[in-house]
Structures are given as structure tokens and as C-alpha cells.
């Protein structure tokens, strides 16, 4: 596949909602180990609200879709991931304004702007053991690809590996940072939800 348009985007969000729902308990367990055990419930609640929203008011274009996803996540997720993912999708909406199709590089640029919003808001550096640690390499992998299907597949693979690789990190942001040394040895829940989002993206673009 060579272009990412509204139908892929809708497929992405729906696949992501299903995957988050199926993996909610696992995400919450990851969060229970080094946080407060709600990441799966937060994300599942948010993605369920998103599904309901776009089913009841189908968005006309990419920008409208992403804005709707962002606003819905903002008002339904809460916690740290609510504003971070909410802001991420709102930024995706802004960046795709007027666009109907994105190629691999274009999608990577839009996602990169979303990542920028997360980093501005959360001030996490690479290695701080957050979702940022999965987002950076995944988006880099997509940016380096020329084909959308291959690029998103590679990005999904990279995100998964990066999420796993957060285990040995010492958390310096979010709740896990309160644990200090005891955060070491557990994967970051947010990096894992990122991995699920990229797997859904690859699926939608396959």
C-alpha cells in the first residue's frame, strides 16, 4: 500500500481500540508493578469512547478524525496518558489539516509532530522509561522507510522491541519514578500501549 488516507486511519483507530481492549488487563498489570495499575483501564475506557464517538459522528477527513480522537481521549482517559495521547492525536489533527493522503514520510512527519507535543508536555527524555522510548524509534523506523506497509510493519516491530527494552531502565518520569531503583526490571506500561498502537497501524496499512 502506498498511501494513508481516511479509511486506513479509521481502520487503525478501530484496530487499536480492539487491541487495547483485549490487552487492557495486561497493561494494567504492568502499571500495577511500578505505577497505580490503571493504564489498561484508562486506555480501554478512552478507546471505547473513541469508537462510540466516531461511530456516531463519522469524521469527514483525517484532520477531523484525529481531532475527534484527541478530544475524546482528553475527556475520557485522565491520568498522565490522557493528556499525552489526547495531545498527540490533537497534534495529528492539526498536522493533517487539508491533507487527504499521507505517504510513509508524510505519516512519519505527522506522528513526529504528535511526539513533539508529548515531549513538550511531559518533558520526558529518551531513557526516562516512558512511552517516548517506544515512540522515538518507531517513528524513526517509519521515516526511514519508503513503503507505507513495510514502514509501518517495521515501526510496529521496533515499537514492540523498544517497549520490551524499557525494562532495565530507571524511571525518571511519571509514577514509576517514585519507586527509584525498584522501577528497574519492569516494562513501562505506556511504551507497551504505544507498541499496541503501532501494531494496529501496521495492520491497517498492510
Amino acid at each position: 500500500m502506498s498511501a494513508f488516507s481516511l479509511s486506513q486511519a479509521l481502520a487503525w483507530i478501530k484496530a487499536a481500540a480492539q487491541s487495547i481492549d483485549a490487552n487492557a488487563a495486561h497493561l494494567s498489570e504492568l502499571d500495577a508493578a511500578i505505577g497505580d495499575g490503571d493504564h489498561g483501564a484508562n486506555m480501554a475506557r478512552g478507546m471505547a469512547a473513541v469508537t462510540k464517538k466516531i461511530d456516531s459522528a463519522p469524521p469527514a477527513d483525517l484532520a477531523a478524525l484525529f481531532k475527534s480522537v484527541g478530544m475524546t481521549l482528553l475527556s475520557s482517559v485522565g491520568g498522565a496518558s490522557g493528556p499525552l495521547y489526547g495531545g498527540f492525536f490533537l497534534e495529528l489533527g492539526k498536522q493533517s489539516a487539508g491533507k487527504t493522503e499521507l505517504d510513509a514520510a508524510g505519516l512519519a512527519a505527522v506522528l513526529g509532530a504528535g511526539l513533539g507535543d508529548i515531549r513538550r508536555r511531559g518533558k520526558a527524555e529518551p531513557g526516562d522509561k516512558t512511552m517516548v522510548d517506544a515512540l522515538i524509534p518507531a517513528i524513526d523506523a517509519l521515516a526511514a522507510a519508503s513503503d507505507l506497509a513495510q514502514g509501518t510493519a517495521k515501526a510496529a516491530e521496533t515499537a514492540r522491541a523498544a517497549a520490551t527494552a524499557t525494562a532495565p531502565m530507571l524511571a525518571r518520569k511519571g509514577r514509576a519514578s517514585y519507586l527509584g531503583e525498584r522501577s528497574i526490571g519492569h516494562q513501562d506500561p505506556g511504551a507497551n500501549s504505544v507498541a499496541l498502537l503501532f501494531a494496529a497501524l501496521a495492520q491497517a496499512c498492510a
Binding site: D36, D38, S75, G78, G79, Y178
Partner: protein, 333 residues
């Protein structure tokens, strides 16, 4: 999971319905989005105090809505920061024309969500300031981390700022006073047992019959150290010494001493902890001018305690003694 609930997804709404039924004389509860606000509109010219945070810490914050304390509170899901739309609606509902002061516990989620709500309120021409609490000495502070958690000091902050707002202090004055309180209080907590988040259905960590966690927060997260269970006097010392040496509190100073229960610890035990905590304060040359003993900032049914010390002068003591009339804290009226 042994809880008096119906379904995990209904816990927050049903508890709010119970609050509404029990306190219909004084509180109004909005269910979409969730917020608790005083029944009587904020007096014109009085700054509106808005706080909020995840549920599971009752009576905080909804139980502190009322004369002399908060104007509105936003409950999130259990242990999950509420969302900007709740805070925005609560701020709009509570605003009496003199602006909104947000009291925010220092958690990444709470801070970001309240920031967004502040922007939304400012977009409507409402003046907004925020005061942070980050009093938990169990967390090492650093420029590069999320910083310290807001815990027990939040209760005292809400009482003191509430009294000042009631006396007519303006937004800038409240912000400055809040920052001074923030800089003058410290806390630390421990747990004998974990708690169970309803939608998780099992304890967030495991503790053996002879273990306890020291340096816990209020979200069921494990603490900084796991140690063998100790006597109440030793527990009081484990909490009080780091609290007192952190600020540090100095001999001759006066403090408000707050011994808090985590939700599953009965009052008889809190008084035993208070006894030693007060003794330790005295040994450090501190005068305990006021005290609060009870379960005011909890972590579901967790058994454990936290101590908070707040350095205070006559101004703060006057604000502490001022009338307050909320479901959970009431005197002088």
C-alpha cells in the same frame, strides 16, 4: 476482592450518588462530567477553590467541599486524575468572578490535566492560578524527575487556603500563601497491607504477614522500602524523623501535626501513632500547636498511616481555627 461495591465501573458514580443523597442540603453533584460543588453559589468577589484527583482517597476531595474549604472538587476514576473538561466545568460552575485557584497534587497526570483546564478557563476570560502540593519526603526530589508526590499536606492546604479565600484574599495572595504552605510542610506514609483497585481485582502488591512498606504514596503503589513489621513507636519514628529533618523543622518552631489513616486502619491505632509522633516533635523542640488525627486522605482500604508536619505562624493558626463546614471537616459553624 472483598469490597462493598456493585461493579468496578460503577464505583465512582454510585459513591457520588450516595454523597449527593447524604449531603443534598449542602452539595450539588454534577454527573456529566463528574464534579462536586457547593449548593450555594460562590460569593461574588470570592476566589473559587477547585481541587480534584483520582477517587479512592475519600473524604478527599469531595468531602472537603463547603464553607471555608473548597468550592468544587473533581473526582476521577479510582486513582486516575480527572480530565480537563471536569475541571473546566467545575471551575466555571464555581467561579464567583474573582478567579479560580486550582489546588493540584503533584502527579504528572493531575498537573497536565489541570494545566489544560486552566488554559480552557483562561480562554473564557477567567483568571486562574494553581498551587501544587509535593510534600512526600519518601520520594527523592530532582530536577530531572517528576518530583515529589502531593499527599497529606493537601488536606491542610485546602483548609488553610479555604479560610483565606473566605476572608476575601485575592487570587495572587492565595497563590503566594499556597506556595508558602507548600514550602513549609512535609509528609511520609507507610502501609501494613496493600489495597485493591476495583477494576484490577487484586492487590497492587503483595506483602507477607511480617512485612510492611515504608514510603508509600496514596495510589496503592509499592513504597521505597519493604521492612519487617515494627511497633507503632518505631513506625512513628521511621516517618517523623525523615519528615522533620527534610525541611528541616527547627527547634522552637510551631507545627500543625496531622496523623492520617490510609483507609483500613482504625482510629485507636492512629492515636497510638499520634502519641509517639507528638513525643518525637517535642523531642525536636517543636511545639505542636494544632493536631488532626483521622482518615482524611486515604488509599482505598489500605491499612497504614502517614504523618504530615506543617510549620506555622499565627497567620496560619488563625486560618486553621477559622470556621469550616464540609462533610468531612467541620468546626466553628
Amino acid at each position: 476482592m472483598k469490597k462493598l461495591i456493585n461493579a468496578p465501573e460503577d464505583v465512582v458514580r454510585e459513591a457520588l450518588e450516595g454523597m449527593q443523597a447524604a449531603h443534598a442540603d449542602r452539595l450539588r453533584i454534577c454527573f456529566d462530567p463528574f464534579y462536586v460543588v457547593r449548593k450555594d453559589a460562590t460569593a461574588k468577589g470570592k476566589v473559587a477553590l477547585v481541587s480534584g484527583g483520582g477517587s479512592g482517597h475519600e473524604p478527599m476531595h469531595g468531602g472537603f467541599v463547603g464553607y471555608g474549604m473548597l468550592d468544587a472538587a473533581c473526582p476521577g476514576h479510582v486513582f486516575t486524575s480527572p480530565t480537563p473538561d471536569q475541571m473546566y466545568e467545575a471551575g466555571k460552575a464555581a467561579n464567583g468572578g474573582a478567579g479560580v485557584l486550582q489546588i493540584v497534587k503533584n502527579y504528572t497526570g493531575d498537573v497536565m490535566n489541570f494545566d489544560m483546564a486552566a488554559d480552557m478557563l483562561r480562554d473564557e476570560g477567567i483568571a486562574v492560578e494553581s498551587v501544587l502540593t509535593d510534600d512526600d519526603v519518601a520520594v527523592e526530589d530532582s530536577l530531572y524527575t517528576a518530583g515529589r508526590r502531593g499527599v497529606g499536606l493537601t488536606v491542610l492546604m485546602e483548609k488553610l487556603l479555604g479560610a483565606a479565600a473566605e476572608k476575601g484574599m485575592d487570587l495572587a495572595g492565595l497563590k503566594a500563601l499556597g506556595d508558602r504552605i507548600r514550602a513549609s510542610g512535609r509528609s511520609m506514609g507507610m502501609a501494613l497491607t496493600p489495597c485493591t483497585v476495583p477494576h484490577l481485582g487484586k492487590p497492587s502488591f503483595e506483602l507477607a504477614e511480617n512485612e510492611m512498606e515504608v514510603g508509600i504514596g496514596i495510589h496503592g503503589e509499592p513504597g521505597r522500602h519493604r521492612v519487617p513489621i515494627a511497633k507503632a513507636d518505631e513506625v512513628a519514628a521511621m516517618l517523623m524523623e525523615p519528615v522533620l529533618s527534610d525541611l528541616p523543622f527547627k527547634a522552637g518552631e510551631s507545627i500543625i501535626l496531622f496523623v492520617n489513616g490510609m483507609g483500613g486502619t482504625p482510629l485507636i491505632e492512629l492515636y497510638i501513632v499520634y502519641r509517639k509522633a507528638a513525643e518525637i516533635a517535642a523531642k525536636h523542640g517543636l511545639t505542636v500547636s494544632r493536631s488532626l488525627v483521622g482518615s482524611y486522605i486515604t488509599s482505598l482500604e489500605m491499612a497504614g498511616t502517614s504523618v504530615t508536619a506543617l510549620r506555622c505562624d499565627d497567620t496560619l493558626l488563625g486560618l486553621w481555627d477559622a470556621p469550616v463546614n464540609t462533610p468531612a471537616l467541620r468546626w466553628g459553624v
